[in-house]
Symmetry: C2
Subunit: 277 residues, 2 copies
């Protein structure tokens, strides 16, 4: 594991690391923000959206201020494997392959060899972080944006004791039902939608709601809202299943990091309250 | 004038505009953040550092939160002319030519044709902004980073009633005395250092201090501190000349936007206090 960069930020340290991932069979990068103090700190895992690397959240979300204030670490992995031998979309699409791992363990060729983002994010990375940084594994939360909101909801619902708190910005909540998700899942998981349910938050919450109270923020001017995101589908199932969820609609906000930055403080405070005990 | 992008941010709007500049004889871009409300708003002009476009500050500084809170507009121009016919450094240097206008009006070929950033920033842009956005020209302030801190100090000292408040992050304060400044000024203004003094904050403050109280923040771990920045040179002359200046040294902080973001709130509050009347 090698430190790529390091900068003091709000009294803490924002660093970027490179490690060889066993699951991804490739080198991978992730950001680590540590607040001031000695720890062990509660930690939030941030999952980014399509086209992102680890850098987008680190540079644009403005999360370090509130993380420093609440004494939280934030771990921000890349969104896909990258590098030699890693499959890419032959058509060069931005919603499949590099930057678009969709946080699943691919079962189909050519993706299965490296696209194991689910195992990486839910197993390998938390273990690596817990072993290398002053964090408290009993107080891990997860959050994300768009494709990463999907990943966060799925990871929380399937591992509610590992990732005890969960929130999302403009998440894809029902990938089995929308074009981005159907396209990616067909490639990564095969054409049989029965194999997709383990990665579909709306299907998962129906079967196994968590004890947490999930926060979802959604911009009303988000260009992907109606076609790809549909947080209402998740909220409806959550209500039926008894999953506590708060879905906030914000007039005028789009899908960008300007939206995320505007409400990131609320999310960190939300996790801080949930992980206080 | 054409709007390139627009996103809601902290209840206000962050937009980016393209306009044809008379002074630069090229199209140019600038960011405009408007806080919530009707205005007219006090406005801060932000000048960025070497290699930046208008985007760095907009995306990375996290200024919109405090600007919204204090009801401030922020205008963030590009750092040089760009486009067809605009001279570039034949050696491809990142500290001369594109992204490195140094906020001077060049007198030397080939730069003089387009590199008129001083007139653009201090005359054309404020006039354009005052005519197009709900801002109060009686309450303009200026701030910047590195090369842009130099630009902000010079613009304030030469136009203390147009830019009534001034602050800087890690500014180049004595360009006539340091490698970056000497290299750029030789190219843009000619080899005679006597022609450089109008763009040298340390020389200017000696001759004509302003009535404002200037805030300078400097990271102690900044890799350019000793060779290029030397804020102590300005502070010494300021004290002798009777210019009020606060120079804060921050242990562990480097030259990056992580440093800027960590203290941007203080700067906006500083300008808000100065422009309150």
């Amino acid at each position: 594991m090698e430190e790529i960069s390091r900068a003091k930020s709000f009294g803490g340290v924002q660093s970027v690391w490179r490690a060889q991932s066993v699951k991804l069979r490739s080198p991978t990068r992730f950001g680590v923000f540590l607040p001031p103090g000695e720890g062990p700190f509660p930690a939030l895992f941030w999952l980014s959206g399509l086209t992102c690397t680890e850098d987008n959240f680190i540079a644009k979300a403005g999360a370090q201020r509130a993380a420093a204030e609440h004494g939280f670490a934030i771990i921000a992995p890349d969104t896909s494997p990258r590098g030699e031998g890693v499959a890419t979309d032959p058509a060069g699409a931005w919603d499949l392959g590099l930057g678009a791992g969709f946080y699943v363990d691919a079962t189909e060729a050519p993706w299965a060899a490296h696209y194991q983002m689910y195992s990486f994010v839910t197993e390998e990375l938390p273990t690596l972080i817990a072993g290398s940084f002053p964090v408290d594994p009993a107080r891990f939360g997860i959050f994300g944006h768009s494709m990463g909101g999907h990943g966060a909801l799925v990871a929380h619902l399937r591992h509610p004791t590992k990732f005890r708190s969960c929130s999302a910005f403009a998440p894809i909540v029902a990938p089995s039902q929308v074009p981005w998700g159907r396209n990616a899942f067909s490639a990564y998981l095969g054409e049989n939608p029965a194999h997709w349910a383990e990665y579909d938050a709306t299907a998962l919450v129906r079967r196994a709601p968590s004890a947490a109270h999930v926060l979802i923020d959604q911009g009303a001017a988000d260009q992907f809202l109606e076609r790809e995101l549909r947080p209402d589908l998740f909220a409806q199932e959550a209500v039926i299943a008894g999953q506590q969820v708060t879905l906030r609609r914000h007039e005028g906000y789009d899908h960008s990091y300007f939206f995320i930055a505007s409400f990131i403080d609320d999310h960190i405070a939300w996790h801080a309250a949930a992980l206080r005990d």
